[in-house]
Symmetry: C2
Subunit: 382 residues, 2 copies
């Protein structure tokens, strides 16, 4: 059975045009960009053109783009690399960061850093009063995401960056979920480092980038052959990098058009969810247009996910990366949601390939599955 | 102009069968292995089957295979991850290691480790007397490569591991150049960790693995969503991992057959080089069958590389990763080769796609280019 895919915040299908752009570099043009012969020079040119495309997509200069193996590596490189260049002081990260930011910030404790998670309000937005309070202590590094992977909530990173810079801190933003969904301008954001990933924007898995203010010192976390100006060693994943650039180009070109279509579908979905007795988490206008995070009180998210899976719909019950865990979502707990309710969380994240017809069919199926699960739970209570 | 590719130690063309194995995971089966729905489960199964194939190819258990973004990451993860679990003592690495091992070992100095490069003899083989001497000092970590990327010289890593283990050290081997060219058996080698890369064995760029003795403690160098049993975070590069496994399968299946054909071509090449007045570096029987490293006294390697490039042959003048540098090869200097001679180094590394006819044509072209360069140099001396 072919499922309907409603989990685009976990990963996206590779765009046909992106695959087409990658193919030459998986076939005849297979050279190592470090080689000096013809094969090598062609590969080098492809990587440098891709660097320009990625930079253009996010308002950065090509020299600011460091290619890496994905968003997780980019986040780790930023946090570990920047902190290693500083005397340990305080690291601040928001309590809704992705685990690859939160855990990496927490790992600095063994190097003598003071830990300072930043509170969010009930709407999931950074608490700027708490930020002001945090910055009264000498702070080396502040890590704040642009858009949340679970709720889709978008944050005022520029304002955080302004305050953090004024306090003398370096600022990193995880823009993995924002890329391709909202306009990104590295210079305008005022951050020192920004992480990107290809496979969230219809590009290949295994490639991402750290965009870096060159005035910041970064201690490389992989050393070797001097690639990426010494900041990230390892033979460049040429097809992956070319695909990443092509995906960025497509994302920028289609952003408004995709956003409008997808927002209409998301609104239709949420109207249906509300009619079926669902509660929407973080239902604010400052949210990615593709993401809906909700629950049906009394129904476990995991159980509903499995029921929908059998009925032909691929959804998430939380951050894909954290799955395997049965703990309620840390993001929802940080927003003050009761654990009972948080355990019911279901995330639908829409994409280019989805249609209004799929939304209607989903609501129809959801109604049936909810009735069945509620009947089962009524029986088990008796 | 399509060049003849003689630089397989830098990178290899992606095998058509490998690409075919990857394609489903770049198209319909694009799921994130951490997702619980159908797309995710199919991706998870692909990754776990690939893990088995890679493990089988190197005599390891699937649970010992940690996927990473390539050989450089695997080497960094081993060295940084193992050393971080130990009290700083002495780190020993051979003086012919790849920069991603040598520089990473050297980076441990800032963490209080004592530096101890291991000498090689004139044939480029580890000096076991020097090893014995090194191990008289308390040693936490020993890093020795299986086959050298420049010379192709193969080492008795099992004997080094035996002595290092007896001295209480953990042992890591970089098997990136050995994979697919010599039989590898992780258990028989007796090392604690072994690095592999896909793109050197007709697999995709951007993927590799660390094979790890589970009794060794490894501190992860990328933290996040708990992937790879917590040892290496980041969404798995599913097509890359599947391609890596397919490439391992092909390499093992074809090893003897490829080796015989390639050795004949290499011998023919070296006979021609000798007739033209060339000197072969590290010309020992304990050498990868595909690699030839030589010079013509008085001719700069870089100059000859460029001349051959224009004449249609892609060769290297040293380690591709270190290119951009005009320093003579550190590997050759460690073998006691004079800098004058080392600056002339040209590496030919043959592969599956090469033919005896290409070797004959290469020798013909080489003769012409040498005559031209010698005439030029005679003129410039006058």
């Amino acid at each position: 059975m072919v499922q309907v895919y409603f989990d685009h915040n976990a990963t996206t299908p590779l765009d046909d045009g992106v695959l087409a752009a990658m193919m030459p570099y998986m076939q005849a043009q297979f050279g190592n960009p470090s080689s000096r012969h013809g094969f090598g020079r062609i590969a080098r040119q492809a990587v440098e053109e891709a660097r320009e495309q990625v930079a253009n997509a996010v308002g950065a200069h090509p020299s600011q783009v460091v290619f890496a193996s994905g968003g997780t590596e980019a986040n780790n490189l930023a946090i570990r690399g920047m902190s290693a260049a500083l005397q340990p002081s305080q690291v601040v990260w928001s309590s809704v960061e992705h685990p690859c930011v939160a855990k990496t910030c927490q790992s600095l404790k063994t190097q003598g850093w003071a830990m300072r998670p930043l509170a969010v309000d009930e709407a999931g937005r950074f608490d700027l009063n708490d930020l002001a309070q945090a910055l009264q202590v000498s702070t080396g590094l502040v890590c704040v995401m642009l858009a949340n992977n679970e709720t889709g909530i978008c944050q005022d990173v520029a304002e955080v960056a302004r305050q953090a810079r004024a306090a003398g801190a370096w600022v990193h933003t995880d823009a993995v979920q924002a890329l391709g969904k909202v306009r990104l301008n590295f210079a305008a954001l005022g951050v020192h480092a920004m992480s990107l990933s290809a496979h969230k924007v219809y590009g290949p898995k295994g490639v991402g980038a750290l965009v870096l203010d060159k005035r910041v010192e970064l201690i490389p976390q992989m050393t070797g052959g001097g690639h990426e100006k010494g900041l990230r060693a390892g033979t460049e994943n040429v097809p992956g990098i070319v695909g990443f650039a092509a995906a960025c180009g497509l994302a920028i070109g289609r952003m408004e058009q995709d956003e409008q279509r997808i927002r209409l579908m998301r609104d239709e979905l949420e109207a249906g969810v509300a009619l079926l007795g669902g509660t929407i988490f973080g239902s604010s206008p400052q949210r990615l247009a593709n993401t809906s995070y909700f629950c049906f009180p009394g129904i476990e998210g995991e159980t509903l996910l499995m029921a929908l899976d059998r009925a032909g719909f691929a959804v998430a019950s939380g951050s894909a990366c954290a799955s395997g865990s049965t703990e309620p979502s840390a993001v929802l707990l940080a927003m003050g949601i009761e654990p009972e309710l948080a355990r019911g969380a279901i995330r639908v994240s829409l994409g280019r390939g989805n249609s209004m017809q799929q939304i209607e069919e989903f609501i129809r199926v959801l109604r049936i599955e909810l009735e069945r699960l509620r009947a089962l739970s009524a029986v088990s209570v008796m």
